[in-house]
């Protein structure tokens, strides 16, 4: 009983179809990269990195303040989100009992699923309302909250992957629990932890929605942390929906820069983890 030609045809057809779908999906990535490369590079010049935005109607200007602004807000977010997430992850991996760990993990997953715009609302309620104005601080709080879940998860996952024999080896030498964790387990998991933090950062670096009504925006330089501040993603949004063609060009440039940054961090993070696992396998 040989396989009927009909079955063979269906087989070949379906399998090709699935390959075509994959090709389609992959091609989207290349379309995005290509489009941004062409349009972004075209509009990218030194002014972009050094000048401030021009007032409405005037041509030219750059996004220097937005680049610095993004840096400031992300720094704040990292300072808020990463330590809390890291230490909570240590608790889950090294100290916690099963029931408590399950609860916290569930809550962390919940937090991860909250739409970023909703986080923005909460940061608004927590920081902007009491202060009565928008600020870099509010933006940092919003993004910091978003960084917590991934920080917890990656920390827990990579600490758990360190074999117990390491912990026993340290404790058998007279190290306390705390010493074991911080001088043996954490260093052993370091490449994974760093990689995780980089991916975390890349994710929030592109976030726009939570900044719309926390950091808001600024046409000028922002002093300190308590003024509204310009950020790259928000500028892209504002310029993209503006009527002026010149602003569209700048939006492309900014989009290109942002995407390159995000992709660079992603790829580096993968490299870090691959190198880390390779060296420990020796």
């Amino acid at each position: 009983m040989k396989t009927s030609p009909a079955r063979r045809i269906v087989n070949a057809m379906m399998l090709s179809l699935s390959g075509i779908c994959t090709l389609l999906v992959i091609s989207v990535l290349f379309f995005i990269l290509g489009y941004l490369l062409v349009h972004g590079l075209k509009s990218l010049d030194l002014d972009f990195f050094s000048k401030l935005p021009k007032p409405s109607g005037e041509i030219g200007g750059g996004m220097a303040n937005a680049i610095v602004g993004s840096g400031k807000v992300l720094l704040l977010a990292t300072l808020i989100g990463v330590p809390i997430g890291f230490l909570a992850g240590i608790f889950l991996a090294e100290y916690s009992g099963k029931a408590f760990a399950f609860t916290i993990r569930y809550v962390v997953d919940l937090l991860n699923g909250v739409p970023s715009i909703v986080i923005g609302i909460v940061a608004y309620a927590l920081v902007v309302r009491p202060m009565r104005h928008f600020s870099a601080l509010a933006g940092g709080v919003a993004l910091g909250i978003m960084m917590i879940p991934i920080a917890v998860r990656t920390t827990e996952e990579f600490l758990r992957s360190v074999p117990n024999s390491m912990r026993e080896g340290a404790m058998a030498l007279g190290a306390t629990r705390a010493q074991t964790i911080f001088t043996v387990v954490v260093p052993a998991a370091m490449s994974g932890l760093i990689s995780g933090m980089m991916l975390n950062l890349a994710r929030v670096a592109g976030e726009t929605a939570p900044l719309l009504f926390t950091a808001l925006g600024n046409m000028f330089w922002s002093k300190g942390w308590l003024e509204p501040i310009a950020t790259l993603p928000v500028m892209i949004y504002n310029y993209a929906i503006a009527p002026e063609e010149d602003l569209h060009q700048q939006a492309w440039a900014a989009g290109f820069v942002l995407l390159m940054l995000v992709l660079a961090i992603n790829v580096t993070a993968r490299m870090v983890i691959n190198r880390g696992t390779a060296s420990s396998r020796r």
Binding site: L15, T22, F213, I236, Y237
Partner: protein, 324 residues
């Protein structure tokens, strides 16, 4: 002799500072890490509390009618979120309709057909797509996708399906359809990534059993592997749905931001996330702000429910595979 002095000084150190060491190391470490874990819990509670609390004025004013009325009038103080709910649901539906078949098919290719090295490379690239910021999808949506849709897709749709109320009326670029398409592109990587993992988790013995009786590769996949992984794939769909519901920037840039309910997909619309993004910063008056926050609360609730369902489904498949 030097060696006995080491043992001696270690003993001396231990005896002298037993209390100090005890207090210094383990206690602090335990308490600080516990505090952070509790803090995470507190943050989530705070989120729910703030959302709920700040929605109260709107809840008191409108109750559940909020979700049934479609008047959104900041001037008269009448707020009904039905148009946003409608837009959110319609765009997500369009997104899933396109992304699910494409995504699952790609996952099948990557899990069942492609050699491991190719599969890993392609998966890596597809996962990079998930890392692209929403605002960039929006940017490309406005300037790359909308012209394409206007020039090619809409005429084609009108040509073949023009009789349907879905595709009637004039098309100006920004529309429910455009938003749905952009969302489809954005959620496909999630479907591919999770479905691929779920398919890879199906035990090889299952495939071998089918192939051994002469089934073709496709038949094995369709009849044996997919049903086995079914709950996990549904899980990935729910995950994608949760993402689509909450997507803000790309949607607000191409949906048209018009609080109207129309049968046609070609007309502009609005979504919950988009209205919040657009109007929150300038909203004045307690009821206005509160209504926006109420809408946010509804969105929050929706995503929680769907994420929970997703997790249960994905867990179900992995448990089945582990038990096998």
């Amino acid at each position: 002799m030097a060696s006995s002095s080491i043992a001696g000084s270690l003993r001396h150190r231990a005896n002298r500072s037993v209390l100090a060491r005890l207090r210094g190391g383990d206690e602090i470490s335990y308490l600080v890490t516990l505090a952070c874990a509790v803090l995470v819990f507190v943050v989530v509670v705070l989120i729910v509390a703030k959302l709920w609390g700040n929605s109260q004025p709107a809840i008191r004013a409108f109750g559940w009618d909020f979700l049934r009325t479609s008047r959104w009038n900041p001037n008269s103080g009448n707020f009904g979120a039905l148009p946003f709910l409608y837009g959110t649901c319609v765009t997500s539906a369009i997104a899933l309709l396109i992304a699910v078949p494409t995504g699952v098919a790609s996952a099948i290719f990557l899990a069942e057909m492609a050699p491991p090295k190719l599969s890993n490379l392609l998966t890596f690239l597809i996962e990079l797509l998930a890392a692209v910021p929403s605002v960039i999808y929006g940017l490309l949506g406005i300037f790359m996708l909308l012209p394409l849709i206007r020039s090619y897709l809409v005429p084609a749709l009108k040509g073949t399906f023009g009789f349907l109320p879905l595709f009637q009326g004039s098309f100006y670029g920004v529309s429910l359809l455009s938003a749905g398409l952009v969302l489809a592109v954005m959620v496909v990587p999630f479907i591919v990534s999770v479905s691929r993992e779920v398919l890879l988790a199906v035990p090889t013995e299952q495939r071998e059993a089918a192939l051994a009786v002469g089934a073709t590769k496709w038949e094995t996949t369709w009849d044996i592997v997919l049903p086995y992984a079914r709950s996990g794939i549904f899980g990935s769909i729910f995950l994608a749905l949760a993402r689509a519901l909450g997507e803000t920037m790309a949607v607000t840039m191409v949906i048209g931001n018009t609080p109207k309910i129309t049968a046609s997909l070609l007309s502009p619309g609005y979504s919950i996330a988009a209205v919040i993004a657009n109007e929150f910063a300038e909203a004045s008056g307690d009821l206005y702000v509160s209504s926006l926050i109420f809408a946010g609360l509804v969105l929050f609730g929706l995503t929680i429910v769907i994420n929970a369902l997703a997790r249960i489904l994905i867990l179900a498949t992995s448990q089945k595979a582990a038990a096998a």
